[in-house]
């Protein structure tokens, strides 16, 4: 049984089909990227997977349970227990310190535990910045706090919306590196992005266009391991195929 399965999912706003008969499966421990241009339905899909919205039609099975018919209160409970969210804009509470921001997720889940929150910050390499306010942290550091907050309740799925969209290249690498580590630890990752470089480091890329899944590609160069150079620094893989190349390959495959 897949951890997440979308069956004939539609999201319709009047005349607009934001999602149009989407079918997708995500296995436990898998790292999936959802790609597509603006308006392709990425965010709508993320909202539905993240229990922040409901489809107009279709089923969304999370751990075998259809969450598409749940009410807002139950969706909040599912989101709290099973999903860790990472946002492009970080969305940290600006009057709470880094560790308090992590504890906030614990507070609404069960009980805040500062020691555990510190360990989560340690995992993202921010133990020494725990008592800093978001305004005292760089963009990359804020995103790492956001990752620590997403991890703190041991969710089934980490759902990241454009996690590197507001980061420079160096911080982007740090965040991608973190995703590698999480993936190696068995965390299921769904990363919504329009950046091919971020998408291609995942195991699988799902390409959306006009609300439809137009491609689903297994990234052949995915090793599942973090790559280091001689000096021990993480190197992102940039030799993966571009979307155009994937399209060409698909086309050739269909012609055969």
């Amino acid at each position: 049984m897949s951890l997440l399965e979308l069956k004939n999912v539609y999201k319709i706003y009047g005349e607009l089909h934001a999602l149009d008969n989407v079918n997708m499966k995500v296995e436990k421990g898998e790292w999936v990227s959802i790609m597509g241009p603006s308006g392709s339905g990425k965010s709508t899909m993320m909202n539905i997977i993240g229990c922040m919205d409901k489809p107009s039609k279709g089923e969304v099975l999370l751990d075998g349970v259809d969450i598409s018919k749940e009410n807002a209160k139950n969706l909040t409970t599912v989101r709290r227990d099973k999903i860790g969210l990472i946002f492009q804009q970080f969305h940290l509470v600006n009057y709470l310190t880094a560790v308090e921001n992590v504890m906030l997720a614990q507070y609404y889940h069960s009980l805040p535990d500062e020691k555990e929150a510190m360990e989560a910050l340690e995992r993202v390499g921010l133990a020494d910045r725990a008592k800093h306010l978001p305004s005292q942290l760089s963009g990359g550091e804020q995103q790492r706090v956001c990752v620590a907050r997403a991890l703190i309740n041991y969710p089934e799925i980490i759902l990241a919306d454009e996690p590197t969209g507001n980061l420079d290249e160096a911080n982007e690498e740090i965040v991608v590196d973190l995703f590698h580590k999480l993936h190696n630890e068995g965390t299921t990752l769904i990363v919504v992005t329009h950046d091919p470089e971020v998408a291609e480091v995942a195991q699988r890329t799902v390409v959306l266009r006009n609300g439809r899944v137009v491609k689903e590609v297994q990234n052949q160069n995915f090793t599942g391991k973090i790559h280091f150079d001689e000096e021990g620094t993480h190197v992102t893989k940039k030799d993966l195929k571009s979307e155009e190349e994937i399209q060409a390959e698909e086309h050739a495959h269909e012609n055969q």
């Binding site: 909040t76 227990d81 969210l85 492009q88 308090e100 906030l104 907050r149």
Partner: protein, 430 residues
């Protein structure tokens, strides 16, 4: 964590919170001022109205029957009298401290040397009494008829030894007889005659202007009525009548034991009358309806005005709070969206926002209450010329009003907060 968040919000949004506190303080101050005045206005209006004379008259029982039969007031010369030696007992009743002033009257029809008939009334002017309780009291018409204008001379001073045979004369009679202060007037009575020296000429604006007022003992001697009086006028601080008082006034025996206790221990005009009847033999005490009704009407209208101002001030405060809290929630929409996204239920977030507002409301309410009490003093001194006392009942009422207004003002913001969808504030809808 909860209190860290509360603290964070209060410190971060201190300007907005201060505005909310100020709005609540404004509403609470008006409510506290109006309620303080409203609860104290009864005594104040009573005191004001006491300057317009007595509000209870006591007559002999037989005179009262005649009054009721012929619908006349006064009860003079019916042949029945009250006892002068019982007058001190009026200050021994349960509501003795509410008896502000009183005076006995004895009315004698007399003739002058020229044969014309006049009424001469014996009363106290400023009679000094030492009561069994140790209390000292100067009672008489100098206090009860404070509206009389003394055209010449002065109020008769009973406590002065050289004014024992003095009298005060109405302005109309003085003109008719061509008398002025210092002149004497000879009046005939059943026990011979008496010469009174005019101590003062007054203008009462009524039938008293054709009468002579002399010390009680002198008139009693004139008519050979030692120790007799035919009426007493009493000025008492009373509570406006309600249904219970009206029922009791008709027939106190119709009350249940508990109703009787409540009525007896409340300063209704009827219960004070009842207690006066208990101490004055064969008497009937009854409230002067005009004064009692005026008191009731003035107080009802004043209290209605105060209640209206309180309600309007609270509505104004609620609208102000509504705008400020809604603006605060809108400003924090992404923070609230995030809380929802990471698993906060609506109740938890509403609780957080309401706690922040209530802490601010308590702060504003306390300041408002004391400011309101200050406003009440200004009103008291400006309108009534005296301080407004702090009634403890105002505190819980203002507290309840502040809670209700804060809740009512927060409703639109809470509704907005409940409708807020995390997906819409954390990233685009689609």
């Amino acid at each position: 964590m909860f209190f860290r968040m509360i603290k964070g919000t209060l410190l971060r949004q201190w300007k907005k919170m201060l505005m909310i506190a100020f709005t609540i303080a404004l509403g609470a101050s008006l409510a506290a001022a109006m309620l303080s005045v409203m609860f104290d206005v009864g005594d104040k209006v009573n005191q004001e109205l006491k300057t317009y004379g007595a509000n209870i008259t006591v007559v002999p029982k037989s005179a009262s029957v005649l009054n009721e039969l012929y619908e006349v007031e006064g009860g003079q010369n019916t042949g029945a009298y009250l006892r002068e030696d019982e007058l001190g007992k009026i200050k021994t009743i349960f509501w003795a401290f509410n008896i502000v002033d009183y005076a006995p009257f004895v009315t004698v029809n007399s003739t002058l040397d020229d044969g014309s008939e006049i009424k001469i009334i014996g009363s106290w002017f400023n009679h000094h009494m030492e009561l069994p309780t140790g209390e000292q009291l100067d009672a008489g018409i100098a206090g009860l008829r404070s509206w009389w204008e003394i055209e010449s001379g002065d109020w008769l001073d009973e406590q002065s030894s050289n004014q024992e045979d003095s009298a005060m004369i109405g302005t109309a009679l003085a003109k008719k007889l061509n008398l002025s202060v210092g002149n004497t007037i000879h009046v005939k009575g059943s026990d011979g005659g008496k010469i009174f020296k005019i101590a003062g000429i007054f203008d009462a604006g009524g039938e008293e202007d054709d009468q002579i007022f002399a010390p009680l003992n002198a008139v009693q001697e004139l008519a050979d009525l030692d120790g007799c009086i035919d009426s007493i006028e009493v000025s008492a601080l009373t509570t406006p009548d309600n249904e219970l008082a009206e029922k009791a006034a008709k027939d106190p025996s119709s009350l249940t034991v508990s109703q009787y206790e409540i009525w007896y221990c409340t300063a209704y005009a009827s219960s004070i009358c009842y207690q006066i009847q208990e101490v004055i033999t064969d008497s009937v005490a009854s409230p002067v309806r005009q004064v009692a009704d005026s008191e009731g009407a003035i107080m009802e209208k004043t209290q209605l005005l105060m209640i209206l101002i309180t309600i309007l001030s609270m509505i104004g405060a609620a609208l102000g709070i509504c705008n400020l809290v809604t603006a605060s929630v809108m400003e924090r929409s992404s923070e609230i969206g995030l809380m929802k996204a990471i698993g906060a239920q609506n109740g938890a977030i509403s609780g957080l926002v309401l706690t922040e507002i209530f802490i601010t409301a308590v702060f504003g309410g306390i300041i408002g209450f004391f400011a309101g009490f200050g406003f009440a003093q200004i009103i008291g001194h400006t309108v009534f010329g005296s301080a407004i006392s702090m009634k403890p009942v105002v505190i819980p009422i203002v507290a309840i009003l502040v809670v209700l207004v804060t809740l009512a003002g927060s409703i639109p913001a809470i509704r907005m907060l409940l409708r807020l969808r995390p997906a819409e504030v954390l990233h685009g809808g689609h």
